[in-house]
Symmetry: C3
Amino acid sequence: MQELHLPLYTYLQKIRNTKPLIHHITNWVSIADCANIVRLTGGLPIMAHAKEEVADMVKLSDALVLNIGTLTSELVESMKIAAKAANEKGIPVILDAVGVGATPFRDKKAFELLDECHIDIIKGNASEIAKLAGEDVVTKGVEAVDIQLDLVQVAKKLAKDKNATVVITAHEDIVVWKDNVYVVKNGHPLMGQIVGTGCMAASVIGCFCAIDKDYGKLCAAGLAVYEIAAEKAARETFTPFAFKQKFFDELFKMDEVCDWMQKIFAL
Amino acid sequence: MQELHLPLYTYLQKIRNTKPLIHHITNWVSIADCANIVRLTGGLPIMAHAKEEVADMVKLSDALVLNIGTLTSELVESMKIAAKAANEKGIPVILDAVGVGATPFRDKKAFELLDECHIDIIKGNASEIAKLAGEDVVTKGVEAVDIQLDLVQVAKKLAKDKNATVVITAHEDIVVWKDNVYVVKNGHPLMGQIVGTGCMAASVIGCFCAIDKDYGKLCAAGLAVYEIAAEKAARETFTPFAFKQKFFDELFKMDEVCDWMQKIFAL
Amino acid sequence: MQELHLPLYTYLQKIRNTKPLIHHITNWVSIADCANIVRLTGGLPIMAHAKEEVADMVKLSDALVLNIGTLTSELVESMKIAAKAANEKGIPVILDAVGVGATPFRDKKAFELLDECHIDIIKGNASEIAKLAGEDVVTKGVEAVDIQLDLVQVAKKLAKDKNATVVITAHEDIVVWKDNVYVVKNGHPLMGQIVGTGCMAASVIGCFCAIDKDYGKLCAAGLAVYEIAAEKAARETFTPFAFKQKFFDELFKMDEVCDWMQKIFAL
């Protein structure tokens, strides 16, 4: 593994200066957290899901984040309309494949999204990505089960099949983009004690990928910045909700120190 | 401009003593914050949107707050039923016109609400209110774009057209009610770093307008109390989520000092 | 009344070790808080409501929590499908009867759930439970009105009629299970200043009832642990949102002291 030094703070400043609009069609659990994390990162959130308006919202937007956490058939129809509009406009579409592997309905709808639209960035935990890559796994709710797979190979397979950037979030995050594999080793275990940290990671990725086309590096950079905020928060707080507040505030306050704290590697 | 001294604390005590029920049909992003802010102000929140029950909920309620942040056609149908029931009962209907100007669908539904029901208080940011008043503006998502308009004239036009109180929230809030124009200069920039502060302002207005018919003064008073809580919080906290917690708690603790901190002017 | 000493910490450790999956079909106000409280207690939350997948989600789950706070006809259809699947699997179904008594629609749907499915644990405030037991009460929104009834008799009647455990949450909580009546005297008034504490109580009950069949004791134990966390938080915080953060963190940190702080009585 080769250590990388990505210009995290430069990316972050670009987000803060350009204030990209990040359109979400997401779940009802973490919708407020996702909107807030976009604001804290420097973007502007739009949360709107009516099928009659999502294509118009995409016209104003710089990235589209889809999250199937509390999906319904109707909501997925809106996602398809929005994703097609985003494809046409050329803005990145991020799919957070929450809970794929838990039910046949969820799998079916995720595959429909992947088949009927172009998803630029497919994000999930290990079991969700494995399921999308065709592996035989069962997701235990929205939490990953331990699986014994070569995750990098799984991500590469899916990335190639779908011509997409693939992001697996875990203790060490994996980003596969064309022939590149990045590993992000930032983060803190307290993130796992709070509902929605995975969803919020996708929103941060949305902010980063809104500023340029180099999705692989931008995904890795976004994850690193987000997880560095968590590391900074965890220096002073030791319980989930004191941590959560500090985590959010550290992201808002993030300065050039993120360049020094990054632990991003190329495989 | 003439400085006013409204009896803010007297209004607040009346809310706390009578505990008005504030029925919301609102968005899924700030629904929890809106419910909590009602409680912190002294009212009791009801959040219910099934078309089969909204008219019955209105029968129990003292004000109705409609917010189209994450509207669907179905949700707007429920809003119409509720608003008509509220009109019949004579309780104030507040419409927070979130995102009007962003998509044709949103504009259409907002105009339907204004045309088919009587809205007592129309609230929005500058671009949303300008759009409703017939100006040619584009709202960038749910965030206002800078617009060069005489906002007071715009608000007056809409107020007259719709026989309504019009509230524009901004650095300096404008309230137009019949021939009166109030400007509220309280508040703090940290409010803009948190998603949902606009929605919550409408909920606070709901609490204040539930206690009397003098909607112009009550809107100004509600905004001032809410924004004074923010000012107090910002004395000790400097990051969005430390601020948010303190902001909520300062509203809960608000005492007669709000009478001294108000910056309300008549134009 | 006879003071009991239930093995609260042993129960809590069992939850933390087995990490039961608690499937929720709930309201959009407290959905995030409910998911988080499950995590803080030691379980894993699933929030999913599409009719096409709820039965499959139940197959993975250890308890099912239904909450009609923001019900629609469609959502209740999903609840019925999920509850029938849970009945078949033999996992506990908890119904939080939010707002029953406020509208005929809400009453109708709550009775449909009770009639068409077996609800293992029926939870509500005094007026909600009284209404379900056939008493003539009106619920003022989602907040209980004062009612002059022998609540224990009311709960016993409902418990017998529906062959269920009945939980009335109040200053002193009542749990009726077969011939047993438990009273839980833990808790703190600041809980009432935060929206969603009742909903979260049902989620905690879900975690506890997921580990064994002794629902009466487990409901009392769950309420006690949850309310002891509130008592601990209220020692150091005196405003609703400082309290809320500490309350959540105290639940996460809960240790064997809960065995000593419990105030559970058998009638």
